[in-house]
Symmetry: C2
Subunit: 292 residues, 2 copies
């Protein structure tokens, strides 16, 4: 189950902007900041979609940034629910960690020796409460030129459509987690066919890992967290009612692959557009899109 | 930095077993458990490399399980260091979470309503301390038909060779994290070229995300956690002295791709061999290997 995540989707248009390149060679000569590390600042530099990073030619590798205007507001419940706990973890607000979960001692918030990031450090036992991004795993289920979507019956994004997806658990692989989530949300038994996309969302500390999958039998029905499950033809995907930007991006990339007849693996970063405030999610970009 | 992780490598041989298939069509007729969800058990089933799961043909998709005999013992320091904290997190031992990190209340260990896994639940505020797998991000740096490796100057796996890699941080993308780790461990500035592999290790709750990268300039030197950094020709890679099974698998897959001249994205799961005890890491398999 996906108990808490970002709300960056959906877009008025079901189509992403026109690809800036169709192969691995198109942008070799384009001058822009690469995704690389600056020794002067010791910080990783990033390039938003206003620039076209230079990537060398390699197979079908292709950087294809595009803009995905969104129309929904980004918000998450912040009460005492499991969802909000997960959000706080994901967002990595170290100052919300007040006690050591191992010994119960109060924490201090400092940059440990040899590190560069603020951490919550136990003042009693000295242990550090590291926080790391979470993986959300899900399935893009193909059946008869349609894809399976679930309408959410829980917050966030109640009433909006999503691929079946949720947090990966310790003890399972990503593919196993995606299969489990599909069963939980759509009562559907699936086989994983191939990895399809990794989409990082640094702002909220989440990485989406999406697999292409197929139904083992033509049976599905809403699980406890879904009000509907439905197969959509690609032209009928409800892009105006998708739950998350990650789903919007995934489905658009899938449609592009179907149109070109070339299934690929996609890597990319979903970022807020530069200059927008953290609370303004009406604009985001898919940066560093690499495919192979 | 990679402060704590598994020690499953290395192998006496630098070569994986012969691929069982070279294309997406080879094993369609093989009967075995697929990576799928069983409605009868509501548990994800998994197939080890003794079986050949059936995956439908799709592009260059190929399931290619192989055995990677290892010669090192799996152990991690379990003291009060940051490393051990991270290991406890990764392993997902919920019973080690004794207190709520938000309010300091004692926890109980129960399966919450509507869930299936044991969680640590605060008896005061009711919040749940979810634990999830961590991502380890790193770079496989190509230069002049060689790859860059670092000799570890810290535990675990002191004195053994690894690709530069470490835990992904909240606020960065996977590629940015891989670039940062490369800078920290090898003082090398790199450009990410493409995603190369996702390797899940369910036993310890880690997922390796490896990117192909290139040096921006021919400069590298050991960072604080490395005693040496060296470019190795593929025939000279020290397979008998690698730090982690994930690195062993990654480098073998890379060599295979170089030999075939077809760079791919690889997904797979590194599992202990069935029937071996949790403390016996002398055998492991790469299961559900999918490539595209």
């Amino acid at each position: 189950m996906l108990k808490a995540t970002q709300i960056l989707g959906s877009c008025a248009s079901g189509l992403v902007s026109k690809p800036r390149c169709s192969g691995g060679l198109s942008f070799i000569s384009v001058s822009a900041k690469p995704l690389s590390y600056s020794s002067s600042s010791r910080r990783a530099t990033s390039t938003n979609s206003s620039f076209l990073p230079k990537f060398p030619a390699r197979g079908t590798r292709c950087l294809r940034p595009f803009h995905l205007p969104s129309t929904r507001s980004e918000s998450n419940p912040d009460g005492g629910s499991a969802s909000s706990v997960a959000v706080q973890h994901s967002a990595g607000n170290v100052r919300k960690i007040n006690f050591c979960q191992w010994c119960g001692g109060p924490t201090k918030h400092e940059i440990p020796d040899g590190e560069e990031k603020m951490r919550a450090i136990c003042t009693v036992c000295g242990k550090i409460a590291y926080q790391n991004p979470k993986m959300v795993v899900g399935c893009l289920i193909e059946h008869d030129n349609k894809v399976l979507l679930c309408k959410r019956k829980i917050q966030p994004s109640y009433g909006l459509w999503t691929l079946p997806a949720g947090y990966m658990e310790i003890g399972e692989s990503g593919a196993e987690g995606a299969i489990r989530e599909t069963w939980e949300e759509a009562n559907a038994e699936v086989e994983v066919l191939s990895p399809f996309a990794q989409l990082d969302i640094p702002l909220i500390g989440q990485t989406y890992i999406i697999f292409l999958a197929k139904l083992k039998k033509l049976q599905f029905s809403p699980g406890p967290e879904s009000s509907e499950c439905q197969l959509f033809a690609l032209d009928d995907i409800p892009f105006n009612s998708l739950a998350f930007s990650s789903m919007f991006v995934t489905l658009n990339l899938y449609i592009q692959d179907v149109k070109t007849g070339k299934p690929k693996f996609h890597y990319g970063t979903i970022n807020k557009r530069p200059g927008t405030s953290p609370s303004d999610i009406h604009a985001f970009t898919l940066d560093y899109h690499l495919q192979c």
